[in-house]
């Protein structure tokens, strides 16, 4: 069958719920198609593999023109400044995703690992945010420099999120 070797190397650089999920779904979806997959978490994307934060990601409610109120009206930016609004919107978003059987971030990482996908953290970003290996998801495959990322990504398609 389709045994030609394909590989994707996904860079996740943001901590927004929707960006992190884009990266996770792309990686998991690749594995489901028999495509090798790796995710390199860098900069704010590190939140998605930081134990304390990974299951508390938010979607921005200010400066997000795609965001809608239930019913379809645009979400007024001024509403977004109300304390707790971002948490509430993010909670609702996660509830909708659960209905579609999209798992929480930590479980999604477990799924990708079980599927043979690999997860890497960016060394420079970790230094910048003063993160230690212990702060990160236990099952990461390593901490890479940008050069090492490129070495690993040899021959693969690179996707930047």
């Amino acid at each position: 069958m389709e045994e030609k070797k394909r590989k994707v190397s996904i860079i996740c650089s943001k901590a927004n719920l929707e960006d992190v999920y884009a990266a996770l779904i792309l990686a998991n979806g690749a594995r489901m198609e028999g495509i090798e997959a790796e995710i390199f978490f860098t900069f704010f994307g590190l939140d998605a593999i930081t134990k304390k934060r990974m299951d508390k990601l938010h979607t921005p409610v200010v400066g997000n023109p795609g965001l809608r109120l239930p019913g379809g009206l645009p979400f007024p930016t001024l509403l977004g400044i109300i304390p707790g609004m971002e948490a509430m919107v993010s909670f609702m978003m996660k509830k909708e995703m659960e209905k579609l059987d999209i798992p929480p971030v930590s479980e999604f990482l477990d799924m990708i690992k079980a599927a043979g996908g690999r997860i890497y953290a960016c060394k420079l970003a970790m230094e910048m945010f003063k993160l230690k290996k212990e702060d990160l998801y236990d099952d990461i495959d390593g901490i890479l420099t940008v050069g090492e990322f490129y070495e690993r990504a040899e021959g693969s398609q690179i996707i930047f999120v």
């Binding site: 069958m1 389709e2 045994e3 779904i25 998991n28 979806g29 594995r31 489901m32 198609e33 028999g34 579609l100 059987d101 999209i102 798992p103 799924m111 079980a114 599927a115 043979g116």
Partner: protein
């Protein structure tokens, strides 16, 4: 509609070879589809296949996540049993339509 002969029986399939009528399926057909995919069916495979068919009869093919939590098999085992595309290959062997979900 394309047709294909498995185990001496002519069955309806789609362009990608997924069976379109699960009633035409037999275990012998499953063995032949599996062989085409390079898979030799074991008890562990059959558990997954039977579970998928049961669920399909209820009208809902499980996602990979649900299948992994079914107690029948976990995700790691699924990828070992059906390498390079566990849900698609398992569905194909089970005589079910191509899975449409993204997760």
């Amino acid at each position: 509609m394309p047709k294909k002969v498995y185990a001496g029986v002519e069955v309806d399939v789609d362009e990608e070879g997924y069976m379109t009528n699960m009633e035409q399926w037999t275990p012998d057909i499953a063995k032949e589809i599996a062989r085409e995919l390079g898979i030799e069916l074991t008890d562990a495979h059959w558990k997954v296949i039977n579970y998928l068919r049961e669920k399909a009869k209820e009208g809902k093919l499980p996602t990979l996540r649900k299948l992994g939590k079914s107690g029948v098999v976990n995700i790691k085992e699924l990828y070992q049993l059906f390498p390079n595309g566990p849900l698609k290959k398992a569905a194909k062997i089970a005589g079910l339509p191509k899975p449409k979900g993204c997760v």
